[in-house]
Structures are given as structure tokens and as C-alpha cells.
């Protein structure tokens, strides 16, 4: 009942693993690889989730979009004042933003129009407005661009200014007044910020309308009731809350990692059949060894223990190697390649650092998915070996 480790037996087990180096190494390698892939995927998913959650906190509490005939369309600005009448709403900001397709590079830029006199609705924007003089932008038709945008523009020889093509086909020349570094990188790398006036011009939008409306509330708990009130007054408006976004992201991630894990299980299953096969085929040398050990006083139980030590050390070391490699791969190499599985490939976006997020529970989870399963696969072969008859193999 009380387990007392036998280090001599452990030593014996390790050396018998070493003796069958080819076979042990093959199993060790594949097992480490499986654990590595599994650990990397879980770590990436967790890190992205964490990054998203921090980003989500900076997102507006309620975003209002107007839908006409099922298509999103611009919101008349009169509604801004009207919305302020609803109790519980502390601020309402109309937004002008959209995507600009830059044909030569085949990419979309996000364009956000800002107004110097308005309260900025996101932390990113307010730091930007503090760092750059927005009024100056308005005066001299300037814009501030993200690093990714700057890179692409300079590749196309736009270093001082850029000519937008408006919806009427005219050129709109805008100065590059500044470049911001993307510390909060997930959203801001492809961003262009310019005065609302210019945004209206580039998009060809009606100046009495906005793309959508951001609502800030005084008390977070009142969000559902406020959404209900808005829906009553403007049935054509759809409200998206922070929570909606969080849940949908969460579901996508769980779904993706679940899907991956299901695939992984199939691989693992195939692998364990191989292990079963490899460990159940004993060479005549091994059989003889077991016979000798039994003849000199080992019991079946001791042989079984030895086999258990073997598979435990093998799988545990594979576990550690796999985890270490994936820590290195995910956080030092930033998981190049695998992260696209979760992010969707985009030329501009994959440039943020994965935040470190490994907790004990994930290690326990990975342990449970590797070591016990490996031991299960070797259980019956080990039992078979342990019950060999001494006299039969010793002839």
C-alpha cells in the first residue's frame, strides 16, 4: 500500500531502456513530438485568448450598428443626441471608420476618423491623441499610421504622403504626419488614423451620418436593460456588447482547440497501437533476461515494477522534453507557423508577442494526456512479460 521507490530498480530500468536504444528512442521521439504539438497548441490558444481578453477590455461596452434590409448601413447623427436621453448611458460617440483596399499590395488598411474635440472611445486612441497633435492633423491634412502600414507604403514609394482614391475617383492627398509603434499590437498594426473630415471624403460618406455608434454606460450591470431600451426605440439598430464578443471568441477558441484535440486523439491512438505492438514483441534476449531474473528470485511483481519504471521514466522524460521544446517554440520563437491555425492568415496582423500564460493546471492536463495513457498502452505487454515461465525461456 505504501509506495517506496526502489532506486536500484529504477537504475536497472533506465539501463535496460538504454540497451534497447533504437526502440526506446523511437518511442521517446514520437511521444515527445506528440506532447510538443499538443502543448504548443494549448499554449498558443491560451496565450491568444489572454491577448484577446486584454484587447477586449479596451473595446467599447456597446457598439450600435444600423441594419437596413439586413445590410449594415450608416447611422444618422441625430440619434446620438436622442440616445443620451436614455437613463444609464453616460457617453455616446459616433464613429467613422472602414477599410481601404490598397490594390498594389493587395491589403486592407483600417481607417479610423477622429475628432480632436471628442472623447476617444478606446485606450489606444486616447494615447495616440495625447502623443500626436490632432488639431495640426486637421490643418495640414495629415494622418498617423501603424508600422505595418508604413512598411507597405514605403515599399510602394510613398514615404511623405499618400494619395487615397475617393469613392468618386478623385485623388485625396494626405501627409504622413506620424507613425506609431504598436505595443498593443493585435488591432493597431494596419491602422490609419486621420481627421473625420478626411475620412468622410475618402469613404464618400454623407456628413450627417456615422458608421456606427459607441455607447458607454455608467454601470456595467445595466448593460442588458440599456440594450433592451435601445432596441425598443430603434428596432433597426443592433447592439453588440463586450460580453457578446468575449463569448463568441471563447467559443471559437474552444471549438478550434477541441477540433484539434480530436484530430490529435486519432494520431495518439494510432501511436499507442504502435507502442503496444513494439512493447509486446519481446526479443529472445529480453525473454531470457526475464527468465534469469525470475530464477534468481524476482517475482512477477518485481518484473512488472521494473517494466512500470521503464515506461514511467520514458514517458515522463518525453513529457518534460516535449514541454520544454514547446515553451521554447511558443514563447521564444513565437510559434511561427502554428499560430496561423488560430489567427487566420493575414499579411499584417501576426506581429504581436504571445503573452506568457502557463499555469500548473495546464501542465497537469498535459501530464494526464500523456503519461497515464502511455502507461496504459504498455500495461498488458508488461504483464505478459512478467508472467513468462522461468524454465521455458532458460533452456
Amino acid at each position: 500500500m505504501f509506495f517506496k521507490p526502489n532506486f536500484l530498480l529504477l537504475d536497472y530500468a533506465i539501463r535496460s531502456l538504454m540497451r534497447r536504444f533504437g526502440k526506446s528512442f523511437f518511442i521517446f521521439f514520437i511521444l515527445s513530438l506528440l506532447i510538443f504539438v499538443l502543448a504548443s497548441v494549448l499554449m498558443i490558444a491560451d496565450a491568444i485568448k489572454l491577448e484577446l481578453n486584454t484587447t477586449l477590455k479596451t473595446l467599447p461596452q456597446i457598439t450600435l450598428q444600423r441594419f437596413i434590409a439586413g445590410k449594415q448601413s450608416d447611422v444618422p447623427l441625430e440619434r446620438v443626441e436622442a440616445l443620451l436621453d436614455i437613463e444609464g448611458i453616460s457617453a455616446v460617440t459616433p464613429r467613422v471608420w472602414g477599410y481601404y483596399y490598397f490594390k498594389p499590395a493587395g491589403v486592407n488598411f483600417s481607417i479610423v476618423g477622429i475628432d480632436a474635440y471628442e472623447e476617444q472611445y478606446s485606450a489606444t486612441l486616447s494615447t495616440l491623441t495625447q502623443r500626436f497633435d490632432i488639431k495640426l492633423l486637421e490643418k495640414e491634412n495629415g494622418m498617423i499610421i501603424g508600422e505595418g502600414v508604413q512598411k507597405i507604403l514605403s515599399e510602394n514609394y510613398y514615404t511623405e504622403f499618400f494619395n487615397f482614391i475617393t469613392s468618386e475617383g478623385k485623388w485625396q492627398r494626405v501627409h504622413i504626419a506620424g507613425v506609431f509603434h504598436s505595443d498593443l499590437a493585435l488591432e493597431s498594426n494596419d491602422l490609419i488614423i486621420l481627421p473625420k473630415k478626411l475620412a468622410y471624403a475618402i469613404f464618400g460618406m454623407d456628413k450627417s451620418k456615422a458608421t456606427d455608434i459607441i455607447v458607454k454606460v455608467a454601470n456595467v450591470k445595466e448593460i442588458p436593460t440599456i440594450v433592451q431600451k435601445i432596441n425598443e426605440r430603434y428596432p433597426d439598430m443592433r447592439a453588440i456588447t463586450q460580453d457578446d464578443i468575449r463569448v463568441s471568441y471563447q467559443n471559437i477558441f474552444d471549438y478550434k482547440s477541441g477540433f484539434f484535440l480530436a484530430l490529435f486523439s486519432i494520431c495518439a491512438f494510432a501511436f499507442f497501437i504502435i507502442i503496444y505492438d513494439k512493447t509486446s514483441g519481446l526479443s529472445s534476449e529480453e525473454k531470457k533476461e526475464i527468465g534469469i531474473l525470475k530464477a534468481i528470485g524476482w517475482s512477477s511483481d518485481d518484473i512488472l515494477k521494473e517494466k512500470f519504471y521503464e515506461s514511467f521514466t520514458l514517458s515522463l522524460s518525453a513529457f518534460f522534453v516535449g514541454i520544454t521544446c514547446s515553451l521554447f517554440y511558443v514563447y521564444a520563437l513565437q510559434a511561427s507557423f502554428l499560430r496561423n491555425l488560430f489567427m487566420g492568415y493575414s499579411a499584417l496582423k501576426p506581429s504581436f508577442a504571445l503573452p506568457f500564460s502557463v499555469d500548473v493546471s495546464m501542465l497537469i492536463l498535459l501530464f494526464l494526456l500523456s503519461v497515464p495513457i502511455y502507461i496504459a498502452a504498455t500495461l498488458i505487454p508488461a504483464w505478459r512479460a512478467s508472467t513468462l515461465d522461468a524454465d521455458e525461456v532458460m533452456r
Binding site: K4, N6, F7, L8, L9, Y12, R19, E289, G291, I292, L293, K294, A295, I296, G297, W298, S299, S300, D301, D302, D389, A390, D391, M394
Partner: protein
């Protein structure tokens, strides 16, 4: 104390039953030294294996140190083998990829004692057999005689009260054989029960041998 009562052992050879032992009854007292002689194939090794509990008799009973070894659960018979019986095998049965020292220690591993104590024990046994100087050598690099001595040291390592020796001198030259016999004599004087299966004539006129039993075609000749 070893008691055999009407022990039979059959083997299946193809479809036929081969009788390796036929109704063997035998009693060896504590501290006795018995030599078992007989031609090749007469059943000597089979008899020793049965006494050590390495195989089950087809019928009859075998008791060792008051315990019926063939009825004992496997873990107990293993323990008995480990603690009470030293077996010197005809073909040595050393584990080829381990060193001499490790081979001698091997029987003790399940007891989970500190390494230091085990190495001490092994050293003593190896010095007794004059093989201590080769302790670190892998056994498959040793000569036949050296291997034999490692096998004997392994049998002695746990201070057994019974030694079963199957052709212990088969690979030794005359001087080494006499050394071995001397150490067997010392064991006999320290009260160990000895059962030696051999056809080496050296054993047939030793003063310390109490009895010589001949076995022929699986039957004892009195």
C-alpha cells in the same frame, strides 16, 4: 531440509510424453552434502529446477524448509528462492550486458536496500569466489571459468541455507575445481545444505560428501 515425495515430471515432446522424473522420493537433511550423479539426460537438472520451484511437478510434493514450494504463490516462492536458495546453473545464466558486480547484485534488487549494503554483500561473495578483481568487467567478456565463478558468487550473495549446484565444475580446470571444492567444503562446515549435480569424478571421493545418489532415466538407483 528438502523432502521430495513421489515426484514425477513429464514433458511434452511433440505429441509424446517424455518422463524426465519417475516417482522420485528423497530426503536431504539440513547441513547435509549430497552429490547427484547420472549420465546426460538422466534428469538431474530437472530435479534441481523442481526443488528451486522453477517448474511445477506433474505429481508428487516437494517441500523446502518446511514449505511446499510447488503450492506456494509465486511471490512467496520467488522470495524463498531469493532468501534461502542459491542456484548455480549449468549454463551460468548470467545477464550478458551487465558487469560481474551487477550480476551478483541482481538477485537482491527487489529487496530495496541501500546500494552500499548490497555492494558490500556482493564484494564479500565475489572475494569468496576469487573474482572480485573482475567486478567491473562485463560478463560476456569474461572467460568460461570466470563466468562460472561469477555465477557462484551470485548464488552465494544472500547467504543461502541451501545451495543447488548444477555441474559447477564443468568449465573449470583442475586447480580452479579444487578451489571451488574447498569453498564448497567451507560452506558445508558453516551448515549450508548442498546438493550438487555432476558427473565430475572429483566429487565422488570427497570426505565431506555425505551421500552420493545416482539417477538413471529419471529413476533413482539406491
Amino acid at each position: 531440509m528438502i523432502v521430495l515425495h513421489e515426484v514425477c515430471k513429464q514433458f511434452m515432446q511433440g505429441d509424446e510424453e517424455a518422463h524426465a522424473l519417475k516417482k522420485v522420493s528423497l530426503e536431504i537433511k539440513k547441513g547435509e552434502c549430497v552429490v547427484l550423479k547420472g549420465s546426460s539426460g538422466s534428469g538431474k537438472s530437472t530435479l534441481l529446477s523442481l526443488i528451486a520451484g522453477l517448474m511445477q511437478p506433474s505429481s508428487g510434493t516437494i517441500s523446502v524448509e518446511g514449505k511446499e514450494i510447488s503450492k506456494l504463490p509465486e511471490s512467496f516462492s520467488a522470495q524463498l528462492r531469493r532468501e534461502k536458495i542459491g542456484f548455480i546453473f549449468q549454463k551460468f545464466h548470467l545477464i550478458p550486458y551487465l558487469s560481474a558486480l551487477e550480476n551478483v547484485i541482481a538477485p537482491l534488487i527487489p529487496e530495496n536496500l541501500p546500494v552500499r549494503i548490497l555492494e558490500e554483500k556482493a564484494k564479500i561473495a565475489m572475494e569468496q569466489c576469487g573474482i572480485a578483481h573482475k567486478a567491473k568487467m562485463r560478463v560476456n567478456r569474461l572467460s568460461g571459468g570466470e563466468q562460472q565463478r561469477v555465477a557462484i558468487a551470485r548464488a552465494l550473495v544472500n547467504n543461502p541455507s541451501i545451495i543447488l549446484a548444477d555441474e559447477p565444475t564443468a568449465n573449470l580446470d583442475e586447480t580452479l575445481s579444487r578451489e571451488l571444492i574447498a569453498s564448497l567444503e567451507a560452506l558445508k562446515h558453516s551448515g549450508v545444505t548442498l546438493l550438487i549435480a555432476t558427473h565430475d569424478p572429483l566429487f565422488f571421493e570427497l570426505p565431506f560428501v555425505d551421500r552420493i545418489i545416482e539417477i538413471k532415466n529419471g529413476e533413482m538407483i539406491l
